[in-house]
Every structure is written in structure tokens, then in C-alpha cells.
């Protein structure tokens, strides 16, 4: 008897399995019968895409398992609106692996950061959703009452570090916009400019100001942006875009989906530091440069960047950071909540706004951002906003630190000296001498 039940079970299961495969076959290709009428833009984008050429249809990306939290039944099939890196990774395996281990993929996990704190206390949840999360990526909320099971406050969202219901991090369509997934679009600077702009990290504006940006906008038609192979120096040579330097293929390197693979300095933190394996990362970037520039040119650029980063670090970032920690340790800040004191805002903008503009400006050859939008403001705010605010706290240790700095640090003691004497030192080159050892990646102990 038991054997018969078992046999019947196997027969039933095989039919069920067959049935489920048969259903897939029946669904494949059927979506478009309606969607070319309902959403013709979407359909036409897809039809012109490489995906259509390779017979990758709606169902290849949007099919769902019945048990997926965001799966919903639609015309007899289980569908998910959200396409996650796991879906794309079915074909684009290496890209998915690289991306999900990249810094970009973690952009959505910022709730513990000062940025997210500010958005929620100074702004409020609607601002965090429509602002921050649309670049950083939302934590997707499931709402079973919604037709596609996605809550309205987290959908739509194409933030690059989206936290998906299947546990994956990221949204490929942050850069590879649906449904054309155009190479041309991913390669042009406007794509990165959706997020990398503004007062706190104006990479897009710095690029536009730089010789690279000028060359790009002059020659955009000759950039071969839609080419199958896009190796800098070979398939195009007029200018680099963001993708060229940070992601795209060179003669030596394949495409990468880790935007930090060629970045040697962390220019984001309050005090800049060299990244882990910075030598290898710098070599990777220098390989990109070498498509158009000689080694002496490239070495010179890096010497100038290193010099500027050390200047920012040593002259302003380190002292200001140290003073803030003295004030916090001594309990000298008036209000308890973070960002409820004026001096916290001054310090924040010192590194997070003008401090980053300084460093990004130097890294990507935007002189105006390095100086006027950059270290000019860092200096002015340090001397005439930050220091007075420190004195107002009446914290003796902090005030002593400042007095000592202004009196004994050769980079700061100009404040109490004679102008003619200072100008003389600038003219003679004596003033510049103290920075002699700045033009290298690792600063010897000072």
C-alpha cells in the first residue's frame, strides 16, 4: 500500500513540476501583448535594447518565486516589479559579484551616519525618502495591500545601495537606466551627476570645470559612446568621462564595478587617509592616465594632489577634529543633542562641505573648487567662525590648544605677524619651504 502511495506521489509531483515549467513557457513573451499598448515607451525602449537582441524578455528579469515577499500574481504568473542585482546576476555574474561587494552597494546602509541623523531631525522622514534615499537607496518595505506588494514610501526607488527584499544590496538601474540599458547613457557623466554634485561633493561640477570636462563637452559627438568596445586611448581619445577613469576598460584593465578600485585617497572622511592597498589602486588609476599622459605628467599630478591633501589634513582638519573631541570629552558643548550647537555645524561644513570641495577639486583638476569654493572657505571659516566659537565655549583646554596652535605652528602664526615681513617671505620662497615634504603620499613624521 505504502509503495502505491509513494508511486502516486512521484507521478503527481512530476506532473506538478511539468506543469510549472509549462506555465513558464506559456508566459514567456506574453507580457508584451498588453504592455506594448499599456506602456509603449517601456516596450519600445526594450525592443531597441541589447536585451531584445539576446532574446532576454520581460519574464527573464521579472519572474518571481511564489514565496518571494514581493511576488504577486499577474495574468497567471508570479511577477516581481523589483529587479535586484541577483536577477541581473543570472547573466551578469561577475558584474553582480563586483558590485555587491563595492562601496556603492553599501550606500543604503547609512541610517547610523551623521547625514541620515540630520535628514531625520533637521528635516523629517518625507525629506529622507524623497531626498537621501533616492540616491543612497531605500530599505524596501513590503506592503501586502499594495498591488505589487511594495510600500509606496519605498517604491519607486533606484538608489544605488537599495536594500532589497531578497537580501541583496543595490540597484543596477541606478546607472543602467531601464528599459534600454544603454551603454551610451552609462558612460556619460550625467549619469553619475544624478548624485555626485552639490555643496558637499561637487564631482560633476569639478569635472565640468576641469580640462577633461571641457574636452568632453567639446567632442561629445566623437566620443564613440555607443561603441561595443570602449577602451580609452584606442576606441576614443578626446576626453575621459567619470566612467573612463573610475570604471571602464583600459588597455590593461577590464571594466570594474567597484568605483574605488582606482582611488588611492579617502577624500570623504573628516581627515583624509590613504586607502588600504592604495599603491595598487593608484597604479590602476595611473594606468588609465597613461592612455593619454606620460609618466612624469601623471606623477606630477599626484604630487600636487598629495600636497593639497596633506595641507588640508595638517593645517585644518587635524586641529579642528582634535578640538571637537576635547570639547565633547570635557562636556563643554551647551546642548546635549548632536547638531544642536552652532560650533558642530561649523565643524561639519568645514570638512563635509568646503573640506571635500577642496580635495575633490584637487583630485580632478578643478582649480576654482580647490581654492575659492574650497580651502579659501575652509580657512576663513576656521579662523573667523570656528575659533571664535571655540573661545565662546570657555573650555580652557581647547582655548589653550588654539593659543598654542596660533602662536607656534608656522602654518598659523602669520595671524600675529607683520604683513610686509610675510610678503617678503612669500617673495623669497621661505614661506613655501615648510610644505616641501608634503608632495608625496606618505608624510614623514612631523
Amino acid at each position: 500500500m505504502r509503495k502505491i502511495v509513494l508511486l502516486a506521489g512521484i507521478v503527481f509531483l512530476s506532473f506538478a513540476l511539468y506543469g510549472s515549467f509549462a506555465a513558464d513557457d506559456a508566459v514567456e513573451g506574453r507580457c508584451m501583448t498588453c504592455h506594448r499598448e499599456v506602456t509603449p515607451g517601456l516596450y519600445n525602449q526594450w525592443e531597441e535594447s541589447e536585451h531584445a537582441l539576446h532574446s532576454i524578455t520581460c519574464y527573464d528579469c521579472h519572474s518571481a518565486n511564489r514565496r518571494d515577499p514581493d511576488a504577486f500574481q499577474h495574468e497567471g504568473a508570479y511577477i516581481a516589479t523589483l529587479v535586484t542585482p541577483q536577477d541581473c546576476g543570472q547573466c551578469h555574474e561577475r558584474q553582480m559579484e563586483e558590485f555587491t561587494h563595492s562601496h556603492h552597494a553599501r550606500a543604503g546602509q547609512i541610517l547610523e551616519s551623521a547625514d541620515a541623523y540630520l535628514a531625520h531631525v533637521v528635516g523629517g522622514a518625507p525629506a529622507a525618502i524623497a531626498g537621501c534615499e533616492n540616491c543612497h537607496g531605500a530599505n524596501m518595505v513590503i506592503d501586502d495591500s499594495s498591488p505589487n506588494h511594495l510600500a509606496r514610501r519605498s517604491w519607486p526607488n533606484s538608489g544605488i545601495g537599495r536594500i532589497n527584499p531578497d537580501g541583496t544590496l543595490g540597484a543596477c538601474n541606478a546607472c543602467h537606466s531601464r528599459h534600454s540599458f544603454s551603454r551610451r547613457q552609462a558612460r556619460q557623466p550625467e549619469t553619475c551627476g544624478k548624485c555626485h554634485l552639490g555643496p558637499d561633493h561637487p564631482q560633476k561640477e569639478v569635472y565640468e570645470e576641469s580640462k577633461h570636462g571641457i574636452a568632453y563637452y567639446t567632442n561629445v559627438d566623437e566620443m564613440n559612446l555607443g561603441a561595443e568596445r570602449w577602451v580609452v586611448g584606442q576606441d576614443y581619445y578626446e576626453a575621459p568621462t567619470c566612467a573612463t577613469c573610475h570604471l571602464s576598460a583600459t588597455r590593461e584593465q577590464p571594466i570594474t564595478h567597484e568605483a574605488r578600485a582606482r582611488i588611492s585617497w579617502n577624500l570623504r572622511a573628516p581627515i583624509s587617509s590613504l586607502m588600504e592597498d592604495w599603491e595598487e589602486r593608484r597604479e590602476n588609476m595611473q594606468d588609465v592616465c597613461s592612455a593619454c599622459h606620460g609618466t612624469v605628467f601623471v606623477d606630477g599630478h599626484y604630487a600636487q594632489l598629495d600636497g593639497l591633501v596633506h595641507l588640508y589634513n595638517e593645517k585644518f582638519a587635524r586641529p579642528a577634529t582634535q578640538i571637537m573631541s576635547i570639547l565633547r570629552e570635557n562636556g563643554s558643548l551647551e546642548s546635549p543633542a548632536s547638531f544642536s550647537n552652532d560650533i558642530e555645524w561649523i565643524y561639519w561644513e568645514l570638512w563635509h562641505h568646503e573640506g571635500r570641495r577642496t580635495r575633490h577639486g584637487a583630485a580632478m583638476m578643478g582649480p576654482d573648487y580647490t581654492w575659492w569654493h574650497g580651502i579659501y572657505e575652509v580657512g576663513q571659516h576656521f579662523y573667523f567662525d570656528f575659533i571664535p566659537a571655540v573661545r565662546e565655549t570657555e573650555d580652557e583646554e581647547a582655548i589653550q590648544f588654539i593659543d598654542n596652535l596660533l602662536e607656534n605652528d608656522p602654518m598659523h602664526n602669520w595671524l600675529s605677524r607683520n604683513t610686509d615681513e610675510l610678503k617678503g617671505e612669500i617673495r623669497s620662497g621661505e614661506m613655501q619651504e615648510m610644505f616641501e615634504d608634503f608632495y608625496q603620499p606618505v608624510l614623514e613624521d612631523r
Binding site: L53, H54, C91, R94, R229, P254, E279, T295, Q440, V442
Partner: protein, 499 residues
């Protein structure tokens, strides 16, 4: 006779161990002979069978042979009887009876031992011989060696055995290779190897010892004319010709010239590269026959702060010919070469661009790659040239097949071997090659630099030209904008060739 042998076998199988041993010995020797006969008779030709015949059977034979005395020893321990007493119970009395020349059983054992020695010797020789064959190296560790095996079979050295270059001659080399092989078995079994296998390989046989068996430096190679045809990614896959006369020269004493000057007997070229990667040089020096040395130091390292351990190496064949056999193509070159050889119908519009795009796409597996390449080429013509598609179908089929073959030849996802994993230092087209030393940063104390004149190594007869040998043609035949350089290069060529 058969009966006697059966009785002997029965007698010797006193214990379970001995019985298994006797079975193994008998069956492995018979199987070996059978397989060997089949191979000699040409009935079995599969190279993989060698692994069983020459490795598995002799191994089983040895295990069996060891098990027989082990069984007797076990029996002796268990019963507490002596070997003589055991022999008396196992064999008939007449067989154990001692004669002047020993007992009959002793004589049988001696005779069979002689057979064994002959078999072991013969099989051992066959095993060593088999292990010297490329099929063994290329297919035994099939995952690890697959990329090398494929590229080797299509290389200029496809008829030279692996061991001729990688093992060398003499007992020392053999022992070294076998010990090294033990580690490789462990490394392959427990997946301790890196993917892809890193280069340069530091423990190769000295190149001068192996390469110079056939290619001795005194051999005069003189000048050699080669033409690269490069096809553009435009609608017509328009060809461009670059023709060079390579000044290869010779290392022969008194005649040192051309690129092979580097390995002439009369001078030694040494270099130190950062971390022995042979990419970025710390210094390069040349020792003359009279012992004087000229050293060129990399001035860039001083200014960029790059440091690394100094490894000194004397230049030999593999510093330039680092891919003399295991040649991996570059995608552009791979397509250009096959187009030049007429494998593609160049009337298909944008063919170069489509083919190139198809092979440089990344695919997660070989199977996906085959489908992807086909879709990429066929799908494009079907969609964008639907009117002409059916008329071109044969050419498109060919294009797909040739392109898939390019992929098979060069890309090996199993070992993470992709485009550019193994750069080729010969020349300077796709890697730094010659420019690793011949660059403006290498400066002597006197301020002298290593020359990097184009015409030092090659006369240029056409450079990305519309027609082959552009610079040898008269001005009314070709584009007149390059008049001056054409005259110069033409002159240089005549002078070099002694015309």
C-alpha cells in the same frame, strides 16, 4: 602447468590480504598487457587511456605485490607458526621438499620474481615515457592545465614536448620535476593553486639551456618583413596596413646587431625589476666583454616614491619571448588575423564591430558564451538588416562559428583566464614590452638615455596606411600629406637594407 600455477596461487593466498594481493597482481598485469596490446594494435587511441594503463595498473600491481607478504606476516602473528610450518600447510609436501637447488616452491617464487622485475622495469619505463608525453601534462590535471593545453596545441611549438622545455635533461632535472609534481598533485587535489596561474613563473629551466637547443644565438635571422592588417569598426570593416621590417639580427660574435644583440655572448644585459615582476625596472645595465659596465637607472622611481625589493636577473630569451608557446591572443588581433586569412565575409556591414563586441562581452560560462556570441551577431543582422538576412545566412553562420572558436581558443572561465590575463612582451603593441627598458626615464649617470628611436628595431614601410607598403610607393600613388615622413622612412629602409 596451469594446474601447478593455480595450486601455487591458491597456496600463496593463505590470508585475506594475500588473496586480495594475488588477485590484484594477476589482474593488473593481465589488464596492462591487454591494454598495451590494444594500444599497439591501434584499437585504442584515446590519450586518456594512458593514465589508466601506465599509472593505475602499475600502482595496483605494486599494492598487490606488497599485500602478499603482508598477509603471510599477519597469518604468522595470528597462528604463532613459523613460515616453514605455514608453507607446509599451504603447499603439497613435494613442493616444499628441499632439493639441492632449493624447494620447488622457492624456485617458483624466484621465477615469478624475475617476471615481476621485468614487468616492473618495462611498465616503469613505459610510465616514465608516458609521463613525458604532452597528453599526460595537458590532460592529467585537466582543469588547471586546460588553458595551457589549448594554447600549446595551436602554438609554433605544438610539436615540441612539454618536458623538453619544462623539465630539461638529466637525472637531477627528472628528480626535481617528479618532486615538484608531488606538490602539484596535492595542490590540484586540495585546490591550493591560484586562478589564473600567476606569471612570470620563476622556477622555469634556464631559457638558454632549453631554447638554445634549437634556437642558438649565433643563428643569423637578419631582417624580417611583417604586415599587420587592422580592420576598423566602421561599416565596411576598412583595413589599415602597418608593415615593418624587423631588425632581428644575431648574437653571433663580431656580428652582434638587431634585437638579438641582447643575448650576444660578448655582452650581458642585467636588470632589477620591482618585486621581480619584470614590469617596472629599477635599473638596467650592460656588461661589456672587457668587464666595463653601463648602468641606466629609473629616474621616475625617485620622484614618484615607488619602492620595491630589488631582484637582479640576466636577460635571456623569455624576457621578450615570454609567450613563445602559450600564446594568448588579444581580441582585436584575434579577429584581425582571421579576417586577413579570409575566415569572414567582410561584405557583412559592421562585421568587425559586431564580432569584437561579441567576444569581449563577459559571459558567466562557456555555454552562455556560445549562445551570447551567436545572438550578438545573428540577432543584430536579423533585426537591423532583416531584408538581407536570409541571403547572408551562410556568411553569418560562418562568422558565428569562427567567433565562437576565437572564444574557445583564448577564454577559460574555469581558470579565470580572460582577455589580457597573460600579456605578451614581444614588441609593444598590447603591453609595455620593449618599453619596459627602452623609455626616457632610464638614465645613465652621464645623462645618456637608453635609445627609443622607432627605427632602432624596425624600419617602417607602412603605418596604419590605406595601402600596404605605403612608404615605398611614389608620391602620386598615395596620400600626399605624409610626403616628408615617407621620404625619410624610405631612405632609412634603403640604408638599412644596403640598397
Amino acid at each position: 602447468m596451469r594446474k601447478a600455477y593455480q595450486a601455487f596461487l591458491k597456496g600463496i593466498s593463505a590470508d585475506l590480504f594475500s588473496r586480495i594481493g594475488a588477485v590484484l597482481v594477476t589482474s593488473s598485469i593481465l589488464s596492462f598487457l591487454l591494454f598495451e596490446l590494444l594500444r599497439i594494435g591501434g584499437i585504442v587511441t584515446n590519450a586518456y587511456v594512458g593514465l589508466i594503463t601506465y599509472m593505475a595498473f602499475p600502482l595496483l600491481f605494486f599494492i598487490g605485490l606488497a599485500l602478499i607478504p603482508a598477509g603471510w606476516y599477519r597469518l604468522k602473528k595470528k597462528t604463532g607458526k613459523s613460515y616453514r610450518e605455514l608453507a607446509q600447510t599451504q603447499f603439497s609436501a613435494e613442493n616444499v621438499q628441499a632439493y639441492e637447488t632449493g624447494s620447488r616452491i622457492m624456485r617458483t617464487i624466484l621465477l615469478l620474481s624475475l617476471v615481476n622485475v621485468i614487468f616492473i622495469g618495462g611498465a616503469g619505463l613505459r610510465t616514465l615515457h608516458f609521463m613525458d608525453g604532452p597528453e599526460f601534462c595537458g590532460t592529467a590535471c585537466h582543469t588547471v592545465m586546460h588553458p595551457e593545453w589549448i594554447s600549446y596545441q595551436e602554438s609554433p611549438h605544438a610539436h615540441v614536448r612539454c618536458v623538453d622545455c619544462h623539465v630539461g635533461e638529466g637525472v637531477d632535472a627528472l628528480v626535481d620535476a617528479k618532486l615538484n609534481g608531488m606538490w602539484q598533485i596535492i595542490s590540484a587535489t586540495f585546490h591550493l593553486y591560484e586562478q589564473p596561474i600567476p606569471t612570470p613563473v620563476h622556477n622555469l629551466r634556464p631559457a638558454r639551456e632549453t631554447c638554445e637547443h634549437c634556437h642558438w644565438p649565433d643563428k643569423f635571422l637578419g631582417n624580417r618583413i611583417i604586415t599587420h592588417v587592422h580592420y576598423n569598426t566602421d561599416e565596411f570593416s576598412t583595413p589599415e596596413y602597418t608593415t615593418l621590417m624587423l631588425k632581428i639580427g644575431t648574437g653571433a660574435e663580431g656580428m652582434e646587431e638587431g634585437s638579438h644583440w641582447h643575448v650576444a655572448e660578448t655582452n650581458e644585459v642585467r636588470y632589477a625589476s620591482i618585486d621581480d615582476e619584470r614590469q617596472e625596472m629599477i635599473w638596467v645595465e650592460r656588461e661589456m666583454e672587457d668587464g666595463s659596465v653601463r648602468r641606466f637607472t629609473n629616474t621616475r622611481l625617485r620622484s614618484s616614491g615607488v619602492t620595491g625589493e630589488e631582484h637582479i636577473r640576466s636577460m635571456d630569451c623569455v624576457d621578450c619571448h615570454n609567450r613563445a608557446t602559450h600564446i594568448y591572443e588579444y581580441p582585436d588581433d584575434a579577429v584581425d588575423q582571421r579576417m586577413q586569412r579570409g575566415f569572414y565575409n567582410l561584405n557583412l556591414p559592421f562585421l568587425k564591430e559586431r564580432v569584437l563586441g561579441a567576444i569581449i562581452n563577459e559571459y558567466p560560462s562557456v555555454e552562455r558564451a556560445m549562445v551570447g556570441i551567436e545572438n550578438h551577431i545573428r540577432g543584430y543582422y536579423r533585426r537591423d538588416y532583416s531584408d538581407d538576412y536570409s541571403g547572408w545566412s551562410e556568411s553569418i553562420d560562418e562568422a558565428v562559428a569562427v567567433t565562437q572558436a576565437i572564444y574557445h581558443r583564448n577564454i577559460h572561465p574555469g581558470m579565470d583566464v580572460v582577455w589580457g590575463s597573460y600579456p605578451n612582451h614581444l614588441g609593444h603593441r598590447n603591453s609595455r614590452g620593449c618599453f619596459r627598458c627602452h623609455n626616457t626615464n632610464m638614465v645613465e649617470e652621464s645623462g645618456e638615455r637608453i635609445s627609443m628611436e622607432c627605427t632602432l628595431c624596425h624600419s617602417i614601410l607602412a603605418y596604419e596606411s590605406d595601402v600596404p607598403f605605403e612608404f615605398l610607393r611614389s608620391s602620386d600613388e598615395v596620400d600626399s600629406t605624409r610626403q616628408e615622413i615617407r621620404e625619410y622612412l624610405h631612405g632609412e629602409f634603403r640604408e638599412t637594407s644596403g640598397l
